[in-house]
């Protein structure tokens, strides 16, 4: 009898403690969504079907798939899989992974309608009404949200030019996994 009472008391005390802690140490926002958001490429392109990276992060936190981000590609999927302890899946996109792009306005054709300015999620386009617009290439995330609203179709998405600064060594092929005839070619 006393044991039951003691256990009951213990349960009540622990429950009260937990209840108090839940109220007292309540975490603002969703910390998982926050961490997921930090791993997304922040292009705000909406290709995942959500209006921006944060909504997608929240959707992932609520159980959506992690392979819907074409700009992030395999690296982002890998990072998310590690964070959430999931199996990495192949990218779920028709065109597959795209190389990093940058928008460029053919300035001679720009009519200064400011539609692309309103579409750009990171304010990477400068211009004013009836004035020519131009893209700040360093700020452009290559989301191509500005292409659609342009009434004269003067915005091109061009692949980011490879430069010496961005060149990198390739990882050598793992040894011992080649048959003898291929080794010659790999060497």
């Amino acid at each position: 009898m006393t044991a039951v009472l003691v256990l009951l008391l213990l349960c009540l005390v622990c429950g009260a403690l937990l209840g108090y802690a839940a109220v007292r140490f309540r975490v603002e926002g969703n910390p998982i969504a926050e961490q997921i958001n930090a791993r997304l490429p922040q292009t705000q392109c909406g290709q995942c079907g959500y209006p921006g990276c944060r909504p997608y992060a929240e959707a992932i936190a609520a159980g959506d798939k992690i392979n819907k981000c074409p700009p992030g590609g395999a690296a982002t999927i890998q990072a998310l899989a590690e964070l959430l302890d999931l199996e990495p899946e192949p990218l779920d996109a028709a065109e597959g992974e795209k190389p990093p792009m940058v928008a460029r306005i053919r300035e001679a054709e720009c009519i200064g309608c400011t539609k692309c300015l309103q579409a750009c999620p990171v304010d990477a386009i400068v211009g004013a009404a009836k004035q020519m617009h131009t893209v700040i290439a360093a700020e452009c995330t290559g989301c191509d949200l500005c292409v659609e609203p342009c009434p004269v179709d003067c915005i091109d998405m061009i692949p980011l030019a490879g430069s010496l600064q961005h060149w990198k060594w390739d990882l050598p092929l793992p040894p011992g996994r080649l048959i003898a005839s291929d080794r010659e070619r790999a060497a």
Binding site: N37, A38, L40, P41, Q42, T43, Q44, G52, C53, A75, P121, V122, D123, A124, E139, T141, G162, S163, L164, H166, W167, K168, W169, D170, L171, P172, P174, P175, G176, L178, R183, E184, A186, A187
Partner: protein
């Protein structure tokens, strides 16, 4: 020298030196090329910005591109000629990519621009001296190409106590520094003196490997009695690495991820010292460098002093290149150099060696085999890393582990790959992993930056939307209030009702009044109910209750009265409806008065009406004042009563004028009639004037 203590660093290897191939002949001047390609980024840091235009004639030593930013150096024309092109040109890089460059067509004169030599640099302020070195375009000539002035100016932790001059030249094949020390020892010592004066270190140490006895002897002779410590190092690769040299000479280790300046030391290459001597004492900017041309595919391996921008093919041709025998072309040494895809790239500031080996001399590495975990690489690593672990982590792209195992302390010396029995291209793994990590970091940085920009934009849009919403709401509220007041005044049919008499009550007061009225009527109702009950069956409790209720009704009435009194009858509300109402009131009062006057009402009634009119007028004034509108411009013209005589006179005048006009218009009118009409008009005018002046 043998009495001086030297330390040792971990690992290291002893590859065949092959230095005798090129160090036997003196430094030759390379032939003047017809066309020079000068890449804008020949150093670590921001590329220089061109300051010349295509077609411009330049002199040797003239600045053709200015430094952009702090970590950058300017670029000078290596010979006189004409700028023929500015744009992408071949660059000495393993990828074979093009890089922005200035192309100069040489005019063959090699005419110098006026120079500003400075014999007494000790009279200059350190900043001025540093600026001279910076403006001479000097970046480290040992291989890395870090801007020298930046290195000299950066002292993160106070003073530099040891200046180290690097003459180790540990990599096989390369003899450029060897020949330089042999032939230009005096200039080298002068350059070291400039550095020593600039930095004021406690000691200056010069490290040379013991496989260069001629250079040691020449430098010894040039040093004389100067207090610079010449240290002869045992030959071991890579003793010329900055951190390894620091450890060899002082026994101190540079902390992981740090620089020699973190332990109060500064390293400079001997070639850089000579360039500083040239820049300060002779005023000559860096336009040429000594480069070793070596390898068995060359007929005459040697060291040349070549102008920067000289195409590599021309240099090799000068050394007698047999292209058929050359297996590949390596820029730098066999350990740390890289293969060049073409001979068109130019010589740049960091190019210390061009190696053209035959296939038998440097055979291509055999296909790699799996790691057998022998540990030879760890024994050879001069940075005390674990190369095989790093290799596995690189294969698995485990970036966290790579960092934890100090990948970024790897100097890419190639000692591990040299000793690897499985011929694993270990350095390539590290280079790829480093590049990958840096790229990810950059991406992360960019994502973070974009996120911040996106959030700021969202915030801005939200604020704009909020402001719009607030404005809209304010407008809607104003409209609603105006409408409410209008309906209120329209809904009151009886002007004489107490509430209608005070339409211009302030909103707050009105509200209070309403509330009090409701309270009062509710109290009244409660009282009546209680009274009924009392009438039905009288009990003392009910009586007391009724008394209480009565008191409450009294109190409520009093409160209502007080509030009503507090609001003066003409308390204006700032709205048009009140104003309109007051005006209507006034008009009604006025017509009432007039009616009464006409009807011949008695004096008492008239005074009463007059008073009412006056009070209505006052109410209107108050309402006018209270309303935001400016008071109407009241121009009170005192109309004099028109008497009978004046009227007749004016009529007469008008008739006379009309007659005259009529006659004047009629061309057939006879003159006497016209004349008489004029006299009549004049007469009428005179009479009127007479009457008015009376």
């Amino acid at each position: 020298m043998s009495d001086v203590k030297l330390w040792d660093f971990h690992g290291g290897i002893h590859p065949p030196e092959h230095k005798a191939l090129s160090n036997r002949t003196p430094i030759q001047p390379a032939p003047l090329p017809a066309r020079l390609i000068l890449p804008l980024g020949q150093h670590i840091g921001a590329p220089a910005q061109p300051i010349v235009a295509v077609g411009e004639r330049v002199l040797k030593g003239q600045t053709i591109a200015a430094a952009s930013g702090r970590v950058s150096v300017p670029l000078h024309a290596p010979t006189s000629g004409t700028v023929s092109f500015i744009g992408p040109q071949p660059y000495p890089h393993v990828s074979g990519m093009l890089a922005p460059a200035i192309v100069i067509d040489s005019d063959g004169l090699d005419a110098w621009a006026p120079l500003a030599p400075c014999a007494d640099y000790r009279g200059l302020a350190p900043e001025v001296l540093l600026e001279k070195i910076r403006q001479a375009g000097i970046s480290g000539l040992g291989g890395a190409g870090f801007p020298t002035a930046v290195k000299l100016a950066a002292r993160p932790q106070g003073k530099i106590h040891t200046l180290i001059i690097n003459g180790a030249e540990c990599e096989p094949y390369i003899t450029a520094d060897d020949r330089l020390m042999r032939e230009r020892a005096a200039e080298l010592v002068a350059g070291i003196e400039i550095l020593a004066w600039l930095i004021q270190p406690e000691q200056v140490l010069i490290g040379i490997e013991d496989n260069k006895p001629e250079a040691i002897a020449a430098l010894q002779a040039a040093l004389g009695e100067r207090p610079f410590g010449l240290r002869v190092l045992p030959t071991k690769y890579p003793s010329g690495g900055e951190k390894q040299l620091v450890e060899l000479l002082t026994g101190q280790q540079v902390p992981s991820g740090g620089l020699p300046t973190d332990v109060g030391m500064l390293c400079q290459n001997v070639g850089t010292c000579v360039a500083i001597h040239d820049a300060v004492l002779q005023g000559r900017p860096l336009v040429s460098r000594i480069v070793t041309l070596t390898g068995e595919a060359l007929a005459r391996p040697m060291n040349v002093e070549a102008l920067l921008g000289t195409p590599i093919g021309e240099l090799l041709a000068f050394a007698g290149l047999d292209e058929a025998r050359m297996d590949r072309l390596i820029m730098g040494g066999p350990m740390m150099g890289f293969t060049l895809p073409s001979l068109e790239a130019p010589l740049i500031k960091t190019g210390n060696c061009l190696l053209a080996p035959t296939r038998s001399e440097l055979p291509p590495p055999p296909p790699p085999l799996p790691c057998i975990r022998c540990g030879a690489c760890a024994d050879a690593c001069p940075a005390s890393l674990l190369p095989q672990q790093l290799h596995f982590f690189a294969l698995g792209q485990e970036h966290e582990q790579l960092r934890a195992h100090n990948l970024f302390d790897c100097i890419e010396c190639g000692a591990c790959a040299y000793v690897c029995p499985s011929s694993l291209p270990l350095v390539q793994y590290y280079r790829a992993a480093k590049a990958e990590i840096r790229e990810l970091e950059q991406k992360q940085h960019k994502a973070e930056h974009s996120r911040r920009r996106f959030e700021l934009r969202q915030e801005r849009l939200r604020k704009a939307e909020e402001q719009k919403e607030a404005e809209r709401q304010a407008r809607a509220e104003q409209a609603a209030r105006a409408k409410a007041l209008q309906t209120e005044s329209a809904a009151l049919p009886d002007r004489t009702a107490p509430l209608a008499a005070q339409p211009s009550l302030a909103a707050g007061l009105l509200e209070q009044q309403k509330k009090l009225r409701i309270e009062a009527s509710m109290a009244q109702i409660a009282l009546k109910k209680a009274e009924k009950q009392l009438a039905a069956h009288a009990t003392p409790e009910l009586e007391a209750q009724v008394a209480e209720l009565r008191a409450a009704v009294e109190a409520a009435k009093k409160a209502l009265e007080a509030v009503t009194a507090a609001a003066p009858p003409a308390v204006p509300a700032s709205n048009d409806a009140a104003l309109k109402k007051a005006k209507i009131e006034l008009a009604i009062k006025r017509t009432e008065l007039k009616k009464a006057e006409k009807a011949g009402a008695d004096d008492a009634e008239l005074t009463c009406l007059r008073e009412a009119l006056a009070s209505a007028e006052r109410a209107l004034h108050a309402a006018e004042e209270a309303s935001d509108k400016p008071a109407p411009q009241l121009i009170r013209t005192d109309k004099r009563p028109v008497d009978e005589k004046l009227r007749t006179l004016k009529t007469e005048l008008a008739f006379a004028r009309a007659d005259l006009r009529k006659l004047e218009r009629d061309e057939a009118a006879d003159p006497p009639a016209l004349e008489s009409a004029r006299t009549r008009l004049a007469e009428a005018e005179r009479k009127l004037a007479e009457h008015q002046s009376e």
